[in-house]
Symmetry: C2
Subunit: 283 residues, 2 copies
Amino acid sequence: MKLKSLREAQHSGVGDFLRGSLQLAADNALHAPAKDCAALRAVLTERAREICDIRADLAPLANLLERWQTEVNRISETELEDFRWRAAEAAMALLDASKTAVRDVAMNVARVISKGSTVLTHGPSSTIREAFSALAERGVQAIVTESRPACGGWTLAGKLARWGVSTTLITEAQIGVFVRRADCVLVGAERIMADGTIVNRVGTYLVALAAHDQGVPFYVCCETFKRHTGRVEACEFPESDPSEIGSPPAEGVTVRNVSLDSTPAWLVTGWINEKGLVPLLEG
Amino acid sequence: MKLKSLREAQHSGVGDFLRGSLQLAADNALHAPAKDCAALRAVLTERAREICDIRADLAPLANLLERWQTEVNRISETELEDFRWRAAEAAMALLDASKTAVRDVAMNVARVISKGSTVLTHGPSSTIREAFSALAERGVQAIVTESRPACGGWTLAGKLARWGVSTTLITEAQIGVFVRRADCVLVGAERIMADGTIVNRVGTYLVALAAHDQGVPFYVCCETFKRHTGRVEACEFPESDPSEIGSPPAEGVTVRNVSLDSTPAWLVTGWINEKGLVPLLEG
């Protein structure tokens, strides 16, 4: 795992990205050049900062790496190879805990969603992918948005169909037409703010508004770890490269590519996490 | 004007398409092969039916051609060339009336929108294009959705920029992020149902929901002619070719391309038509 491939991992959802960052931290622990334990500790701190800088706005990333560094700081500086191994192990333990959490969320999703339901989803999310793998045997149908410009919806739709889930692929503009044909909406989350605001792939807010207007339950599915507990932050998100969407058709046109939006808690029916289905503001 | 180019005219909005149908009717009147007036009348009726079949769901199209045929039926069957000329003239008179109505709507839009406003728009509409040409000198800024898959937003954005309107181009998914940066939303309409439901390019309903949630005024701009007065019809719309969006990524995936949606009257702030800004249900 390199910094470059970690940046690309963002396209398949923030969960994969966070786990990738732990994988990279473990790789650094094992392979970063250093003459002794103190030097390695300094290099790992520097590299962790580089990882955090990929998404400086993403508090769960900083929290996760901070948690890992706390563990690393507890390791005594004796033998270099032993230090490397124990630092890597600490990262892998956090990674395993995250994978277990995702599986638990997916199992809880399968408990909440009735057999034969039609489920609409939007935005890349490893948790949603995992949930559908658990739902595939329960005869659910999927409606998946393409999620332009990265178009992760196309990959997800192909995967679901191969698992035997009858899948409909739509443009974002058709969300309002198709949400009324769904029994519920399931989305992942990049993070949940202290006030219950969901931060997720741009367009999630529109799905939530349409689901609310049509009386369709709207569930957010993610690990408790993604919940911020601190103060409510301003929701200004970094912008992706506009050329992913296209070149301006004329001078005087600015193409914008904001990739996240925020959905207020009142539009969310419930939060499915490791514990089960819980009210968003008490999870 | 041929049937084929008329079908393509739909991409730039239903107003252009309706006016194109009158242009085609006039061309048919002048050039369709016929040995006498009675034969020509029969040919024109047949051709008008072909035009209506392009969009059998579009009542304003049937109404317009019916109105024209009523005029044609009043023409006495004397000299063939004279008959041709009068039938064509009847179509052109309706076309001129439609152009005048669009200009009047655009002027009324320019009266309603304050100088320096930021206006968000979605979907192709000749009325909106005309309105922006009237607004260009008033220092407005535009936020335009790309309107995938036909992507008429790219053409409109280029046109606005060349008129000196500072223009932002966004994907449909970003509507919720950008609507709060707009002072108002302006959309055209393919038609307005008897109960005030707006039928327009798919995604309009999402724009209206977001505008309502953010407290941004949402205006529909179109000629009174597009208002249905009859019973409320079911809103099942014809579907466009899914290959415009892309090929299914796997067997078991169905790509859908519904190109219209309906927006209920309660989400609409007002209707700007030839008379001015009027409440939607009293226009």
